[in-house]
C-alpha cells in the first residue's frame, strides 16, 4: 500500500513536471468571454472568421470552445475594454440573439501577483501547520521521536496535495481543465483538514503506549492497533466531508465543479495517507532516530 502511494506520488510529480498546470486567465492574464446564443449557436470556425475579418482583432490569438448547449467560451490575450466592445459588436451584428454571460479580463501584472500570492499562501499554511504540530507533538515526544512525527506528517501532507496537483496537470493537458484562484483555496483547505487526522492517530499511539498496552519496542504493533482503533472515526469523518463536497460537485454548477473535485481527491487521499503513509513512516523513522 505504501508503495502504491509512492508510485502515485512519483506519477503526479512526473505529470506536473512534464505538463505543468493549465492555469486560467486569473493566473496568466488574458480575457475570457462566455456568450449564450439563444437563436442557434454558430460553429467555432464561424466565430473565428468573424474575428479574423475585424481589422482590430484579426491578429489576436483566440481559443474558442463550445460550452453547455448554447454557450461559447472565447479565450484571448488580454483585451482592452474598447476591443471587448468591438468584439461584442461584431458578433452581435453577425448573430443577433446573443447574450454576454460573463467576461473576465486580467492584466498580466495582476496574474503574476496572484501566482506569487498563491505560492506564499501555501508556504505560510505549511509553516503554520508545521509549527502547530510541533507544539501539539511536543507533549508526545517523551514516547515518540518528535522528528519522526513531524517528518511523517509533512511527507503525508505533501502526498495529499501533490497527487491532486498531478491529477489536475493531467486534466489540464488532456481535458483542458483550467486552474483558477479558487484551486489554491482547495489546496489550503486540504492541508488544514487532513492534518488533524494524522494528529489523531499519533495521539492515540501515545495514549496506548502510556496506558501500557505496548511499548516503543514493538511500535509497529502499537501503531497498527491505534490505526485500527481510530479507523472507523477516520473513515466516518472523511465520509461526511466527502458527502458535502460531493453535493457541491454534483449540484453546485460548472464554475466550482473542479474546486469540489480537488477537495474530494485531497480529502480522500488525506484519510488514506494517515493510515498508509504517515503511520508506516512514523514506525520506520522512529526506529532510525532512536538508538
Amino acid at each position: 500500500m505504501f508503495f502504491f502511494s509512492l508510485a502515485l506520488f512519483v506519477a503526479a510529480v512526473v505529470a506536473f513536471a512534464s505538463f505543468g498546470l493549465n492555469v486560467g486567465v486569473d493566473f496568466k492574464g488574458g480575457s475570457v468571454l462566455e456568450l449564450e446564443f439563444s437563436g442557434g449557436r454558430p460553429t467555432v470556425d464561424e466565430i473565428t472568421n468573424v474575428l479574423r475579418s475585424d481589422p482590430t482583432l484579426k491578429d489576436r490569438e483566440v481559443n474558442i470552445n463550445p460550452a453547455g448547449e448554447r454557450n461559447m467560451i472565447v479565450r484571448t490575450v488580454e483585451l482592452t475594454e474598447a476591443e471587448h466592445q468591438i468584439l461584442l459588436a461584431d458578433l452581435k451584428q453577425s448573430y443577433g440573439a446573443m447574450e454576454e454571460v460573463r467576461f473576465n479580463s486580467v492584466g498580466p501584472a495582476v496574474g503574476k501577483e496572484l501566482q506569487r500570492k498563491s505560492i506564499v499562501a501555501i508556504v505560510i499554511v505549511l509553516v503554520a501547520i508545521l509549527l502547530y504540530i510541533l507544539i501539539v507533538f511536543r507533549k508526545l515526544s517523551r514516547t515518540l521521536s518528535l522528528w519522526a512525527m513531524n517528518a511523517a506528517t509533512i511527507v503525508a501532507l505533501l502526498h495529499d496535495i501533490i497527487i491532486p496537483i498531478g491529477i489536475f496537470a493531467l486534466l489540464g493537458h488532456y481535458a483542458n481543465v483550467q486552474i483558477s484562484a479558487i484551486f489554491v483555496a482547495a489546496i489550503l483547505t486540504i492541508l488544514g483538514y487532513t492534518v488533524s487526522d494524522k494528529v489523531v492517530i499519533f495521539d492515540r499511539v501515545r495514549e496506548n503506549i502510556l496506558r501500557g498496552k505496548g511499548s516503543t519496542a514493538n511500535l509497529g504493533a502499537v501503531v497498527h492497533a491505534s490505526v485500527m482503533q481510530t479507523l472507523v472515526r477516520s473513515i466516518n469523518n472523511t465520509l461526511t466531508v466527502l458527502l458535502s463536497s460531493l453535493a457541491i460537485f454534483l449540484f453546485g454548477g460548472e464554475s466550482i465543479r473542479y474546486f469540489a473535485l480537488a477537495l474530494i481527491l485531497g480529502i480522500a487521499l488525506g484519510a488514506y495517507s494517515s493510515i498508509f503513509v504517515a503511520s508506516p513512516l512514523l514506525v520506520w523513522w522512529n526506529k532510525k532516530s532512536k538508538p
Partner: protein
C-alpha cells in the same frame, strides 16, 4: 432537570435566530395574532450571484502635484469615482482603495457594463482659453507651414480658469433665441473662480473666449459685457441628453491622477441567478446527505447530531446576515463544506462513547468520558482548519476571501454546537429508560 433548562434555552434561541434568518415564518403567525413583524434583513449576495461587474483600476502616481501625497491622490480618485458611480443608481456600489495604488469598483446589476466603464474612466478637463495676440498667431501659423511648432494652438492660449473652480453645472434652456429652446449648460464658479472670470471678461471685452472640453473647443462665445457674478453658459450644438451628460460629468469633477483599467470581471444576471439556484440546491443536498448518513450510522446519537447540525445552520445563517457576510459562489461552497466538518466533532465524540460503552461504562459515564477524550482532537482539527482559513482570508483575492470567511465562521460555530449543543442533548437522553436500551446508542 438541569439539562432540560439548558436544552430549552438552546431551542428558544435557535427559534429566534431561525425567524431572523427567515422572517416570513414569523410574519405569518404574527399576522394572525396581530403582533409586529420580525425585522427583515436580507442576505448580502456577491456579484457572482447577483450579476454585475468587478473592476480593478491602477492609478498612475508618478506625476503627483507638488505637496500631494499618494494617499491624498488615491482618496481623491476614490471620491471622484464614487460620485461618477452614484450616477448609475446602483444599489450599494463599492468603491475602495486597495493597496497603495489600486482602486476596486464593484457594481451589481448594471445592464450596460461597457457604458459604465466609459463613464468611470473618462476624465473631463474643462479649460477656458483666450485669444492669442495676432503677432504670435501669425508666427505660429507660419512655423506650422514649415512643419514646426505643431503641438501649439495658434489661436488660443490657456487662461487660469479651469474646471477646478467650478461649483455647479446644470442644464438650462436658451429661450432668448428665435424658435427652438436650445439646451445649454450653465456654469457657476466659486468666489476665486468668479474673480478670475471677471478679470477675463474685462480684459477680453468684444473678443472671444474659447471653452475647451478634453482638449477640444466646444463653445466659442464672444464677451459682450463684464460678468462679475461667476456665471457662464456653454452653448454648443447640444441635444438635451448631451447637455445633461456634460453637466453630470462636469459636476463629477476631474481625477487628480490618471487611472487605467487592469482587470475586469463581469457576470451576467442570468448566470448569477442560475448559480444561486444551483448552490442553494447543493446546500440542501449536502445537508440531507450528511444528516442521512449520521442517522443511519449512529442511530439516536445520530439524530442528536442532526439536531445540533440544524442549530449550527441556523446560527451560521444568522451570523451571515448580522455581520453581514457577502455570500459568493465560493462562500456558499465553504458553507456546504463546513456542514460536513461540523458533524466531525460529533463523530469523534460518538466513536469514543462507543468505546467507553463497550468497556462497560454507564451511559452517563460514557457520554462524559467521550467528550473529555475527544476534546483534544476536536480542538486540533478546528485550529488547523482555522489556520488555513485565516491565511486564505489574508490572501486578498475576493473569491477566495469569501470562501475563507464562511469556512472560518463555520469552524468557530461548529466548535460551539458540537460541544455545547450536542453535549446538552446527549445528556438529556441519559436516564434510567435509555440506560436499558443502550442499543440506541450503537
Amino acid at each position: 432537570m438541569h439539562y432540560w433548562k439548558r436544552a430549552l434555552i438552546i431551542f428558544l434561541a435557535a427559534l429566534v435566530l431561525a425567524f431572523f434568518v427567515y422572517p416570513p415564518a414569523w410574519n405569518k403567525l404574527a399576522d394572525k395574532a396581530s403582533v409586529p413583524h420580525f425585522p427583515s434583513v436580507p442576505f448580502r449576495l456577491g456579484l457572482d450571484l447577483l450579476g454585475g461587474t468587478h473592476l480593478l483600476y491602477q492609478a498612475d502616481l508618478r506625476n503627483l502635484a507638488a505637496g500631494q501625497t499618494p494617499e491624498d491622490a488615491m482618496n481623491g480618485v476614490r471620491d471622484v469615482i464614487e460620485r461618477r458611480v452614484n450616477v448609475f443608481g446602483v444599489a450599494e456600489p463599492l468603491v475602495q482603495v486597495e493597496g497603495s495604488d489600486r482602486l476596486v469598483v464593484e457594481l451589481a446589476g448594471v445592464n450596460d457594463v461597457g457604458q459604465a466603464i466609459r463613464m468611470i474612466g473618462e476624465t473631463p478637463l474643462l479649460q477656458f482659453k483666450t485669444e492669442r495676440p495676432v503677432a504670435e498667431r501669425e508666427a505660429i501659423l507660419a512655423a506650422q507651414k514649415e512643419g514646426q511648432r505643431l503641438e501649439e494652438d495658434p489661436y488660443y492660449i490657456d487662461s487660469r480658469l479651469t474646471g477646478k473652480y467650478l461649483t455647479r453645472a446644470q442644464v438650462a434652456f436658451d429661450n432668448s433665441g428665435v424658435g427652438l429652446n436650445t439646451p445649454q449648460v450653465s456654469l457657476e464658479f466659486n468666489s476665486e473662480g468668479a474673480e478670475i472670470f471677471k478679470e477675463l471678461t474685462q480684459q477680453n471685452l468684444g473678443k472671444t473666449i474659447a471653452i475647451y472640453l478634453d482638449g477640444a473647443p466646444i463653445s466659442v462665445p464672444t464677451v459682450q459685457v463684464v460678468i462679475p457674478d461667476g456665471k457662464a453658459v456653454i452653448s454648443g450644438n447640444f441635444t438635451t441628453n448631451e447637455a445633461k451628460a456634460l453637466a453630470t460629468r462636469l459636476n463629477a469633477g476631474a481625477l487628480p491622477v490618471p487611472i487605467s483599467l487592469i482587470s475586469q470581471q463581469t457576470i451576467g444576471a442570468s448566470l448569477g441567478a442560475d448559480s444561486l439556484t444551483k448552490s442553494l440546491q447543493a446546500g440542501l443536498f449536502g445537508l440531507l446527505l450528511v444528516a442521512a448518513f449520521m442517522i443511519l450510522y449512529y442511530r439516536l446519537p445520530g439524530i442528536v447530531s442532526v439536531l445540533a447540525l440544524l442549530v449550527y445552520v441556523v446560527i451560521v445563517l444568522a451570523v451571515y446576515k448580522a455581520i453581514p457576510v457577502t455570500l459568493t459562489l465560493a462562500g456558499i461552497a465553504g458553507f456546504i463544506l463546513s456542514l460536513g466538518m461540523a458533524v466531525d466533532a460529533n463523530v469523534l465524540i460518538f466513536a469514543r462513547m462507543r468505546e467507553e460503552l463497550k468497556a462497560g461504562k454507564s451511559l452517563a459515564g460514557a457520554v462524559n468520558e467521550g467528550f473529555s477524550r475527544a476534546w483534544l482532537s476536536i480542538r486540533d482539527s478546528h485550529v488547523t482548519t482555522l489556520l488555513s482559513a485565516l491565511v486564505l482570508y489574508l490572501f486578498t483575492t475576493s473569491i477566495v476571501k469569501g470562501f475563507a470567511l464562511t469556512l472560518g465562521i463555520g469552524a468557530i460555530i461548529s466548535l460551539f454546537t458540537a460541544t455545547v449543543v450536542t453535549r446538552t442533548l446527549l445528556l438529556l437522553m441519559v436516564g434510567p429508560r435509555t440506560e436499558l436500551r443502550r442499543w440506541l446508542f450503537g
